[in-house]
């Protein structure tokens, strides 16, 4: 995708998003039923209660925030039962949970797939059962109702650019990485490496080590990396926890301000650290909002008033993201911090 396409997609996404929200609002009032003359008063019987569920990757801040956003919208609808299910970081568990939800006749399934291909057969199954699936952040190869994402690949490219700019276009960087096995990791790593190639070919990745998404491991690994690479000018943590681990090390070694550190996700601790001038930056998305959008689309779909086909082949909502740095972090309102 070119930059232009990227932007076009983004605009399309936002439009679709607002349409979805509007439709959701409409949907709340369109729940008419010939047998019940009054709106919203009729206690919902067991039969017409709708079930929606979100299958997450594993307990983590990002899906938790999505879930909050989703719930915020759904709880305004008294006929919807919502629950959060745990994929236990295993594709096969996610598949089993998908099948359980299909069996239960859920109205909409939110899904944060661990893998694009692995969940595709289950999504196809859901489609056959007329259950719309809305994916979050990781798309599936099987076309489905809607996909709401913060683009990891382009985000990481932008991070590479921002990081390189601050390093003056030269020097050595290290990546604090996650072990392979989930596509986000690959997208972010590839985006970052490609971004450096494109924008700052003189910057060299001197170390790419696994720190298991974990702040403590990141501390240990970066400490070790610094022994071999005392001139390290930048660090990219594939998630914020690892970036904050790098900040811990930089603080201890008096490298704050000298070493450029970027994270990814944009959770509130990271934003706070940016404000304090410790973490250089991160890719931020309003994850609550992302959840709300997903939920809005879901309510529309669940009414049946707007069929999934109205979203075209597959609804696609690209969340706007921000490379949050000391200069821009102030734009993020407290209510948008998760």
């Amino acid at each position: 995708m070119t930059e232009l396409e990227h932007r076009r997609n983004f605009i399309k996404g936002v439009m679709l998003g607002s349409a979805a929200l509007g439709a959701a609002a409409a949907g709340m009032f369109s729940d008419t039923d010939a047998t019940s003359p009054k709106l919203g008063v009729r206690p919902a019987g067991a039969a017409d209660r709708k079930k929606m569920a979100f299958i997450q990757w594993q307990p983590h801040t990002v899906p938790a925030a999505w879930s909050k956003g989703i719930e915020e919208v759904l709880k305004t609808q008294q006929t919807i039962d919502y629950e959060l299910l745990d994929g236990q970081n295993k594709v096969e568990v996610q598949v089993s949970l998908m099948e359980a939800l299909i069996n239960q006749g859920a109205s909409v399934i939110f899904l944060q797939p661990i893998d694009s291909v692995a969940l595709a057969p289950s999504i196809a199954k859901a489609k056959r059962a007329d259950i719309p699936v809305i994916t979050l952040n990781i798309d599936a190869t099987e076309a489905h109702a809607a996909h709401v994402e913060m683009n990891h690949y382009y985000g990481a490219m932008d991070i590479a650019k921002a990081l390189g700019d601050r390093m003056g276009g030269k020097g050595e960087v290290a990546i604090l990485n996650a072990p392979p096995g989930i596509v986000i990791r690959d997208q972010r790593t590839n985006g970052f490496v490609d971004g450096l190639k494109q924008h700052h070919p003189d910057i060299k990745v001197v170390s790419d080590q696994v720190a298991d998404w974990d702040r403590k491991k990141a501390q240990d690994v970066l400490n070790t990396i610094l022994v071999a690479n005392p001139n390290l000018g930048g660090v990219y943590g594939v998630n914020d926890s690892m970036a904050l681990g790098a900040v811990d090390v930089a603080k201890e070694k008096g490298l704050i301000g000298k070493m450029v550190i970027f994270g990814n996700d944009g959770e509130k601790d990271a934003l706070e650290s940016i404000e304090k001038g410790e973490l250089t930056g991160t890719q931020y998305t309003d994850v609550y909002q992302q959840g709300r959008f997903a939920a809005a689309a879901a309510t529309v779909l669940a009414t049946g008033a707007v069929p999934a086909s109205a979203f075209g082949e597959q609804g696609r909502l690209l969340m706007p993201y921000l490379i949050a740095t000391k200069e821009t972090v102030g734009e993020i309102q407290p209510a948008q911090r998760w």
């Binding site: 299910l85 893998d115 392979p180």
Partner: protein, 335 residues
């Protein structure tokens, strides 16, 4: 009959839990849900069945999850990168799993490592190997390319038993996945191996009394290597069905599967002290774990409470078994 292990208490407990969810969770006792149970947990059962063999020898195989990933990745690479036809991939995959398992056995026998350490080392090494050979890293586009080879994808097939029997209009029977049929065949073959072949007798002898087996002229090395190879081959079989179900393989496939398999085997009555156990038990143990996951999900128990309940039911399963055993043993010597 003291001393001979019976799987009846486990079957009883399984039925108890199954009945509980049938009454409390909507659509738990439905044909679709049973289909989900069979297709979602047959591969776990295969791992548990394989795990029984090292445990029967007083050993353990921690590397099964990593073997699943290695075999999965081999299938992925051969099919998507090298375009090898599926009918050739299937035997290669099984052989690769058996070889990976046999290497564990070799480390235990010839390098004389404790099984725990040997398979812990290969757990790391095999996972590293997966990362090395990952087609997803070598050719990034492939991470969004599903496997299409009919021989592999064809493993995810369901049989409409109801229609076959001509009773689909009267009662809705679950469709039976091929993986479950394969599991039944595997259990039947391995149970026969255990109870009716020379190798099976030798295996119980080595697990029950190593020195005695050696003095009886049993080739302990061969039995041990074979047991670990069986565990590896079962992991490979599980990997094939898993890959067929997912239409892809990931590097993280099978992480943590070793503990699940061991838990299923132990709940299934295979003694960690060696020399006592069946292969039917571990398979039932694995499906018990499936019943718990699906049951609690359909019951709408929150994910956190689910974890607690899973632990509690696991404890209950093993205590129940122990309680019955105690009652039977009451007359015998205790200490």
């Amino acid at each position: 009959m003291a001393g001979r292990y019976s799987i009846l208490p486990l079957v009883g407990f399984f039925i108890l839990v199954f009945a509980f969810f049938s009454f409390t969770a909507t659509r738990f006792a439905s044909a679709t849900n049973i289909e989900n149970l069979l297709s979602g947990f047959s591969f776990v059962a295969m791992l548990a069945v394989g795990q029984a063999f090292p445990i029967l020898l007083r050993g353990i195989d921690l590397s099964v999850g990593a073997i699943v990933a290695v075999v999965g990745m081999i299938v992925f690479d051969l099919s998507l990168i090298f375009g090898v036809p599926g009918w050739l991939i299937l035997p290669v995959a099984l052989l690769a799993g058996a070889a990976a398992g046999a290497l564990n056995g070799v480390l235990v026998v010839y390098v004389r490592l404790q099984p725990f350490i040997a398979t812990l080392a290969t757990l790391a090494a095999y996972r590293g190997l997966v990362y090395s050979i990952s087609g997803r890293q070598l050719v990034p586009e492939l991470s969004t390319t599903p496997l299409r080879d009919p021989w592999i994808i064809g493993l995810e097939t369901y049989f409409d038993v109801g229609r076959f029997l001509g009773i689909s209009s009267i009662v809705k029977l679950p469709w039976i996945p091929l993986s479950f049929v394969a599991l039944l065949a595997l259990v039947a073959v391995l149970q026969l191996v255990l109870s009716a072949t020379r190798f099976g007798r030798d295996l119980f002898a080595v697990g029950g009394n190593l020195e005695g087996a050696r003095l009886a002229g049993i080739n302990v090395a061969r039995v041990t290597v074979a047991a670990y190879a069986i565990s590896g081959a079962c992991a490979a079989l599980a990997a094939l069905f898993l890959v067929a179900r997912l239409t892809t393989a990931t590097e993280a496939l099978g992480i943590g599967a070793e503990l699940t398999a061991i838990a299923a085997a132990v709940v299934g009555g295979v003694s960690l002290q060696g020399g006592v156990g069946t292969v039917v038990g571990p398979a039932i143990g694995a499906f018990l774990l499936g019943v718990i996951l699906l049951g609690l999900t359909l019951l709408g128990v929150s994910q956190f409470v689910q974890q607690i309940m899973t632990g509690v039911i696991l404890l209950a399963a093993i205590s129940y078994d122990r309680l019955l055993a105690l009652r039977v043993r009451r007359a015998g010597p205790s200490l």
